[in-house]
């Protein structure tokens, strides 16, 4: 046990997370769509399972894990039908399986405006609506959750510094994928992040302190 299932392990955040977890010697099972993808992740030391998020999820993906990370996404290149099938319905199916298998923490990689799609970026409103209902399903599931809502994702190098407070300017509402991966790892490793919902942006607080501050905010 104490193994974490990572759904979307071959994605841009997923790959970095697998790498960071391997370095930290955290047991991980990477769920990917194909044997080729599995091969790459196994080189990083991950156990892998091949499964299609658009089909029924196999029990054996969850049965020997106690945590789940959902960082899958259909991406911006496919149609919105895939956003519905993967980002929303895939997440809902993963939460249902997490409940069935008594998972102790489900870390959802969400989006900045998933809480309030009406006031988010108009061009991706349909995406934020899908993320909204995925988050809502998790929040109402009874499965212990950590919901991370990153701003605009960038490919810059990790900074190790974030903030959970929404910056004043749109320009500042970004975060590197490497730092998102580090926030996931921090969440998995610190039980005080359970039942938190946090926006995350690059900022000036070390990741190890940022969520403690969020807890203080939550309690007071």
């Amino acid at each position: 046990m104490n193994k974490t299932l990572v759904i979307g392990a071959n994605g841009q955040i997923g790959k970095q997370l697998i790498g960071q977890m391997a370095l930290a010697k955290m047991p991980v099972k990477a769920m990917v769509r194909s044997a080729e993808q599995a091969n790459d992740l196994e080189k990083l030391g991950a156990e892998t399972i091949v499964a299609d998020l658009e089909a029924a999820l196999p029990d054996e993906a969850f049965s020997d894990c106690d945590k789940v990370v959902f960082t899958a996404g259909s991406g911006g290149k496919t149609g919105a039908d895939k956003t519905i099938l993967v980002d929303l319905w895939g997440a809902v199916k993963a939460v249902d399986m997490a409940k069935k298998h008594n998972i102790k923490q489900f870390v959802m990689v969400s989006a900045r405006d998933a809480g309030d799609p009406e006031n988010g970026t108009p061009a991706i409103k349909h995406y934020n609506i899908c993320k909204h209902f995925a988050d809502k399903h998790l929040l109402e599931s009874g499965v212990p959750f950590t919901i991370l809502r990153p701003g605009l994702l960038t490919n810059e190098a990790a900074t190790g510094l974030i903030t959970t407070r929404r910056p004043e300017t749109k320009e500042a509402m970004s975060i590197t994928r490497a730092d998102v991966a580090a926030c996931i790892l921090q969440s998995l490793d610190h039980s005080e992040t359970v039942n938190q919902v946090d926006e995350i942006y690059n900022g000036d607080t070390p990741i190890s302190d940022a969520f403690i501050k969020a807890v203080t905010n939550r309690l007071g």
Copy 2:
């Protein structure tokens, strides 16, 4: 009062519903997107209000109504992003406004497989998922509901005969739009349909009896 707001009044089902309500002398307010659409429906005797389901819904659409019909849909010609924005999010916003305005019955025109998208027609799974979450939002809202889940919609003439039991063959799982409109009218006119969820197909029971049978089924 006793006025019904019809959202999606210019749609293929909506127009027939407005015509049937006008004949039955039921007070109706037709919500449409443009003044041109309003003009046509006013000829049928309907009061109209011009509003965009993708924007914020105006209070004055709901404030003097006690019932709401949601029969809007983005249709099959636009992208799935519009399915999310109209069929899902538009419905959610309408339900929220119905709650705010203490609406006494919300008739949702849903879809056959909205209850179980996983086992519906694969080609429109993304559509059924959107309808699923729209229905779920209504079911959990506290607003008195009638959810109608028609099979494949056809443009044949009204038959006046339906069934609420799922037929054994896919071919039989259809219903004319005219009969769907008549089912909506029947629902508005008969309070025993409140808090029912029914699939509807053309069948051999007069519409006036079909929902009573459903109530009997529900009660035991």
